[in-house]
Amino acid sequence: MSVFQTLKKGVFENNPVLVLLIGLCPTLATTTSVKNALGMGLATLFVLTMSNVVISMFSRFFPKKIRIPCFIVVIASFVTIVKMIMDAYAPPEINDALGIFIPLIVVNCIILGRAEAFASKNGVLASLFDGLGSGLGFMLALVVLAFFRELLGAGAIFDIPIHTSLKPITMFILAPGAFVALGSILGFVAWRRLRREERECAEAAGKYRAELIITSKNKPE
């Protein structure tokens, strides 16, 4: 499978949040604003890609029985690196907003999932792109969710308030809104998949013509 395809697959078919439904904790927590979502997305992307690469490099050395703890050590070290970078360079308000969720990247099911399912069995380059793909997919999902939550909840896009007569529904910034928003997005994704299936069935129905069945009474040409 070409490298580009792994990338595309990670973002669309196997989008970790929207399709595989893993890594939900940070998704809901950090999508109060698009800026936070981007911060979280980038951090996770970095950790995911780097840990995929390192794990795929050393996967032969990890004994089969305790491969999970080894993966976790690799991931945890990258997370610690990211935490330090964020503490040092990232703008303070993003750091406070993401707060506890940066260290929680290590337990983000996506990273361990990709490491277990892909990185430990494939080459370095493939793992790199798989990490990139999943990471981008994750970030895309985060940004989409954050966009809606911020728009509805805080009446702003990327912190630029929109002056409308409508009062923002603050629920979307708070916890219940996160669940409902993601639930609706998942519903939309499922609706699109069902519509594609229906179109396929309709197309197959269109192709089906009963008189094509050859019997003793109905001989072709």
């Binding site: 945890a76 997370v79 610690t80 506890i100 290590v106 337990v107 519903g187």
Partner: protein
Amino acid sequence: MSGTEAFIIFFNVLLINNFVLAKFLGLCPFFGVSKRTGDALSMGAAVVFVMFMASLVTAFINWFFLLGHPGNLFYRAMGGDPAAYDMTFLYTIVYILVIAVLVQLVEMALMKLSPPIYRALGIYLPLITTNCAILGVALLNNDFAVEASGFWVYLAKCLIQGLGAGIGFTIAMLLMSGIRERLEYIPVPKPFRGIPISFIVAGIMALAFMGFASMI
């Protein structure tokens, strides 16, 4: 550490800032295992146990090894300025190792002692390791270290928070599994069947849990 303070910590984590519905921790197993009440209960029990043990062990490690304060064993052994021994940047890696080991222990014990529960949890037992709630509780326990007067007060607070969080998680799991069992035979619109409707139901539950906000 008066009784009311203990109650406040416990109640805060149990209902007000419920780990699942307010802090968004531990959502993967929350949505994954809450299909049947039986599984939800056994998952909840396993999480309560692992959280309690995790709080216990991380409290010891944090107080005696990581924090740069007089209680630090290295400071006691090697002297010098206690602040120099501040290893708090190791939180993530040390805590996750502790949790991984604990879960491995629980997995082995369950496989040996009661295979049915082990089979019921199935894939979700290793998933406890990556369960954000457990690492979350360990990290949140660190805040107690700052103003704790002594180690035993700190330990008590950590254990209460660990227990409260675990039970809060189980409550949310049970409520959710009760509703999801009924959702199975309600004609929900097709695209929303399964996980999407569970999210919306969780959203409504979170709305309800927000009612506890001003209790304390």
